[in-house]
């Protein structure tokens, strides 16, 4: 296994008798923020539990940090923080007590435990609730505490199962920033399952889609959307766009369509097809478009993949996957 891979599944099957997940092959490289997508019952949580060594695969191999999480549980789980779905945290403990327990399980020196507890409570905005019993905290606070306990000991890998559930918009934005800053540290990897496409689109640089425990597709958001939708739509906001410039962009090789997004000429949507250079690498048209806008004297405000693109790709991918499944039966 490459040292760069944090999580690796090879032909993993989990057979529950009534239900079977897999065979699943996937890998996650260091330093990525990976969105793990799939409908309810597709095997996301099962896959996460396999990664953490909470359940055994019926066949195949799972590796976390290069170790088998069942046979080498301690080594595999070192530097890994996990926040479970709908966290059920010990209601009789206070956040401070829970974090102290987690710090003990990580064998942090006694002198560092208090400081670490303070750090993570501050990170998730729960400092003033340090001494309140978990049973008295709101759902959103429990969710934040769950993230806090995952971040004790400064892990290198964060595994998050639906981390935004129960959070208000401010809480969601706060945690998004927490995850982003975490990923900025060297080798910091985030693996999060979520149903919230906007969140995944905003936060992740890589997505993995599964259905019935099988990999549907994976790649960067632009790769995945282009692969599924056949094109990548980009929304550009700029002032001073001229009809001549728009015509030039429309005529660029790889651009299939250019439309106004709404009524304003200052917001356009450009659809592009995937193109590769002679070496087989994907050609990204965005730098070229940015260059054309800037050279024309127009002011560029934003350039980003169009909203809901991932959601559309996700829905399309799942319907194709379901169709393929039915067809194969």
């Amino acid at each position: 296994m490459s040292n760069n891979k944090v999580i690796e599944f090879t032909q993993v099957v989990k057979d529950y008798g009534r239900k079977r997940i897999g065979p699943l092959d996937l890998s996650i490289e260091k330093g990525r923020i990976v969105g793990f997508l799939g409908p309810n019952g597709s095997g996301k949580t099962t896959s996460i539990r396999l990664v953490l060594g909470l359940i055994r695969p019926s066949s195949g191999s799972v590796r976390l940090n290069g170790f088998d999480p069942i046979k080498n549980h301690i080594e595999a789980l070192k530097n890994v923080g996990y926040s479970p779905e709908l966290p059920n945290i010990q209601s009789f403990l206070t956040p401070e007590e829970l974090l102290a327990l987690v710090a003990k399980t990580l064998q942090l020196p006694e002198s560092a435990r208090q400081e670490e507890t303070r750090r993570v409570l501050e990170l998730v905005g729960l400092t003033e609730y340090a001494h309140v019993k978990v049973g008295k905290l709101s759902k959103g606070m429990v969710q934040r505490l769950s993230v806090a306990q995952a971040m004790v000991g400064d892990p290198k890998v964060l595994i998050l199962d639906e981390p935004m559930i129960g959070l208000d918009p401010a809480g969601t934005a706060h945690l998004r920033e927490v995850f982003r800053s975490f990923a900025k540290q060297e080798g910091g990897t985030v693996f999060l399952s979520s149903h919230m496409m906007n969140e995944v689109e905003n936060l992740c640089d890589y997505v993995i889609m599964i259905h019935s425990g099988k990999l549907v597709t994976s790649g960067s958001i632009s790769e995945v959307t282009r692969r599924i939708m056949g094109s990548l739509a980009i929304t550009i906001e700029a002032s001073g766009l001229t009809p001549a410039l728009l015509e030039k962009i429309r005529k660029l090789e790889g651009v299939t369509n250019l439309t106004f997004d709404g009524e304003s000429i200052e917001k356009i949507r450009v659809e592009t097809v995937q193109m590769r250079d002679s070496a087989g690498s994907e050609i990204d048209l965005r730098p070229k478009i940015v260059e054309m806008i800037v050279q024309s004297g127009a002011k560029l405000y934003t350039i980003k993949p169009s909203d809901n693109l991932l959601e559309s790709a996700y829905i399309k991918a799942l319907s194709q996957s379901e169709f393929a499944e039915v067809a194969s039966q």
């Binding site: 949580t45 539990r49 953490l52 909470l54 359940i55 055994r56 549980h73 301690i74 080594e75 595999a76 789980l77 070192k78 890994v80 996990y82 479970p84 709908l86 966290p87 059920n88 945290i89 010990q90 009789f92 403990l93 007590e97 327990l101 987690v102 003990k104 399980t105 990580l106 064998q107 769950s146 306990q149």
Partner: protein, 283 residues
């Protein structure tokens, strides 16, 4: 096995068990059981029925009476929920996703639960002694109390281990309480019938069955220990207590049976926990 982590889980388990209202109620009940009967005996006409030469040994009643049924019942309440409640509440997943071994988690919870039981037993014994002193004056041969405490603690291991195993196997707290309690009561009732049939028929088979029932060594061992360490004048008190039958295992048999039952339960517990998946939240 890292002791620091085992002790962290042990402390966690004690805290968890104490946070449960039913365990707190049982502790309160133990204290009532160790005080009210003495007070009632001392202040009613019943006190005159007890020969005054037995007054210095009345503490023995408080130490022995809860042992056959009540202390095993407390053991079951602590042990049956130790694993199963964590599965039901989904909290096991959080702890086992840390870099700790399953054995560290299991040992910590087992030791923590058992330490809490020992603490309750110690409190019960001390409160009994104080109540006996306050109600019947100075107590004699108190030097054997530590020995009696350890014997009681050893005997309590049997139902504690069985209930712990049942909780892990069933992974449903209420089912585990019911099953382990049913085992205790069935064994006690069956022992009573076996004893009765043996008394009537003198058929050794019934005596043997009674000896090997799990409740038999648990109730016999503490009586046998105290009986062999008090003067003959105090034996009268032991025979008046509603403990034991006409057939009892020997001390060695009791020691062996408790060890055998506890070891079997613990081996099954360890084997199952090591190889079974960690259940998701079930209720």
């Amino acid at each position: 096995m890292r002791l620091g982590i085992v002790s962290a889980f042990a402390l966690y388990e004690i805290k968890r068990a104490i946070a449960r209202k039913k365990v707190l109620m049982l502790i309160a009940f133990v204290l009532l059981l160790d005080t009210l009967p003495y007070y009632a005996l001392a202040t009613s006409s019943a006190a005159s029925i007890i020969p005054s030469y037995l007054y210095p040994y009345i503490w023995i009643a408080g130490v022995l009476i809860p042992q056959p049924l009540f202390i095993p019942f407390v053991s079951i309440f602590i042990a049956a929920g130790a694993m199963s409640e964590e599965y039901e509440q989904g909290t096991a997943e959080l702890l086992l996703s840390k870099p700790v071994s399953k054995m560290e988690y299991l040992m910590g919870k087992y030791i923590g639960g058992y330490l809490l039981l020992l603490l309750i037993l110690l409190t019960s014994n001390i409160v009994s002694l104080i109540s006996a002193y306050l109600s019947f004056g100075p107590q004699a041969d108190v030097g054997i109390l530590p020995g009696a405490y350890f014997v009681n603690a050893y005997a309590s291991l049997l139902f504690f281990s069985v209930a712990f195993m049942v909780g892990e196997l069933l992974r449903r707290a209420s089912l585990a309480y019911i099953f382990a309690s049913a085992l205790l009561f069935a064994s006690t009732i069956l022992g009573f019938y076996m004893d009765l049939i043996y008394t009537l028929t003198r058929n050794e088979f019934y005596a043997t069955v009674q000896i090997y029932l799990p409740s038999s060594p648990v109730s016999s061992l503490p009586v046998q220990y105290i009986s062999s360490n008090i003067p003959s004048v105090a034996q009268q008190l032991l025979s008046a207590l509603p403990i034991g039958g006409s057939v009892e295992p020997s001390i060695l048999q009791s020691l062996f049976l408790i060890l055998a039952y506890s070891t079997c339960a613990t081996v099954i517990l360890v084997f199952y926990f090591r190889y079974a998946d960690v259940s998701r939240r079930v209720s």
